[in-house]
């Protein structure tokens, strides 16, 4: 069915179809729209969910963990500082191997305080053990929400999943998207049969015991394996989704990459704008393509290096800034993926859009010109560039 919805409404709609047993939430802009809409579904009796309005994000994530450990499907959602406030418990959710799904509406982290889009919030917990899947638009946010539980609950994975959508740009913009019938979504997701529910008197189980030098390391090793396995499962679920709903999802999307010598790598909503610019620049004769990373954690290192093997100059666009002195987080991961696999490629970082700063087709066109010049001259002036900042 074609429906006009904001990104937040699209995610809430997916949550209605998922009908999780427990949702615990605390409001924060720009996520609030998800829970506001979901609260309508609860009030109207359209879901059976136990809806918990908590006193903080720290508590919201804690309650979600409690419910998930008890053996039911549990969800929450957040943004920015809310996610930062959850941080301690975010890490615990992954460590307990609980298949929680959490939409994160990307918003800049304070300070200075800012409510608009960038990816610094999810990047702050990129190695917390959560799978992170980015969305380009409302359709993808909806589709990712439908796929997330099957990924999280897969016995080879058993890790929580964060699905992200860009604050305001996706969350508050009205778009038309295809939604699927309730029973088809329900069938696709299937039933959740927890292996070790906390509430089962016939098989008592302890969650969260003390774990010292004798076993902690082994548990972390298991967790690392779950993240590695997730790559295969995300692709399997993507293929199953395509079979059922006719939309294809993998680890990343390749756009006009077949004969490309130049390429852009982007995350999130900017991919839509950048694809349009790639089309325009292609008309000028540039052999340029684009890769949109969908699955950021686990990072598709090998697959990405393979997709980039013919590329001579690569522009990595980061909508957040890692304060490590060497550029954004995506830039660092992409460079690490290419190291030892493709020594010839020149990789340049373009940090943009912090705190909701607009990124225009013209900005992206300039990036394309910049990497074309690097290809012609062989010279990189600056490996980390700031697009749209007043110099």
């Amino acid at each position: 069915m074609r429906q006009a919805m904001t990104g937040n409404e699209a995610v809430a709609y997916a949550m209605k179809q998922i009908n999780p047993e427990v949702v615990a939430a605390y409001p924060i802009t720009p996520q609030t729209g998800i829970m506001q809409k979901f609260a309508d579904y609860v009030a109207n009796g359209q879901v059976d969910t136990e809806f918990l309005t908590m006193d903080s994000e720290h508590s919201a994530m804690s309650a979600t963990i409690g419910a998930s450990a008890a053996g039911v499907r549990a969800m929450t959602a957040t943004s920015s500082n809310g996610l930062a406030y959850m941080w301690e418990i975010v890490y615990i959710a992954a460590s307990y191997r609980l298949p929680i799904v959490m939409p994160v509406v990307n918003r800049a982290l304070s300070g200075p305080i800012n409510i608009h889009c960038d990816h610094s919030d999810t990047m702050g917990c990129r190695d917390s053990g959560w799978i992170q899947i980015f969305s380009e638009n409302s359709q993808e946010a909806y589709d990712n929400a439908v796929q997330a539980l099957r990924i999280a609950e897969h016995p080879d994975v058993m890790l929580p999943v964060m699905i992200t959508l860009d604050g305001f740009i996706i969350s508050h913009a009205l778009e038309t998207l295809s939604t699927y019938e309730d029973d088809k979504v329900k069938k696709f997701i299937g039933n959740y049969i927890p292996k070790h529910p906390l509430i089962n008197p016939s098989q008592p189980v302890t969650y969260g015991p003390l774990d010292f030098f004798d076993y902690y390391f082994e548990h972390k090793r298991q967790q690392a394996e779950g993240m590695v396995n997730a790559k295969k499962v995300i692709q399997e679920v993507g293929r199953a989704f395509e079979k059922e709903f006719n939309r294809s999802y993998g680890l990343f999307e390749e756009y006009r990459m077949a004969d490309a010598e130049l390429a852009l790598i982007v995350l999130g909503s900017t991919a839509g704008t950048a694809k349009a610019v790639v089309d325009m620049v292609r008309e000028k004769g540039y052999k340029i393509g684009l890769i949109k990373i969908r699955c950021f954690r686990p990072f598709p290192e090998e697959e990405l290096a393979e997709a980039l093997k013919r590329i001579k100059v690569l522009a990595v666009m980061d909508r957040s800034l890692g304060f490590n002195g060497v550029g954004g987080p995506l830039f660092n991961d992409v460079r690490a993926a290419l190291f030892g696999r493709n020594a010839e490629i020149k990789v340049v970082n373009y940090v943009y859009g912090l705190g909701g700063r607009e990124i225009t087709p013209n900005d992206i066109w300039n990036i394309c010109n910049n990497i074309r010049d690097i290809n012609l001259t062989g010279k990189v002036q600056s490996s980390v560039n700031y697009v749209g900042v007043r110099e």
Binding site: Y96, H196, V205, T206, G208, Y215, Y216, E218, Q222, Q223
Partner: protein, 94 residues
């Protein structure tokens, strides 16, 4: 405790066997050990009530011994033993 490999244990640090904390010996944490003097003891069992690690073993209503495999040496038993009795002394572990 046997040290199992990472593929042999439940994920997430879960403990699937109820009551198995008895297998985890915590006696090695002790700096001071409680020593019981049965000649002073009135067997009021206040120490037994207060012991947080169930390390005071009682038989037929009388204190038999301490479970030194699990006693962490917190000293609560010695502190709670009535002032006129003082049948438990904390002695430094050598």
């Amino acid at each position: 405790m046997s040290n199992k490999k990472w593929k042999e244990i439940p994920i997430g640090g879960l403990i699937l066997e109820p009551g198995n904390s008895v297998k985890y010996k915590t006696g090695g944490w002790r700096v001071f050990r409680p020593v019981h003097d049965p000649t002073k003891c009135s067997n009021c069992l206040i120490c037994w009530i207060y012991c947080p690690d169930s390390s005071i073993i009682v038989k037929n209503g009388k204190i038999e011994k301490f479970d030194y495999d699990h006693c962490k040496g917190c000293g609560i038993c010695a502190r709670e033993c009535p002032p006129k009795i003082k049948a438990i002394k904390m002695v430094k572990e050598e």
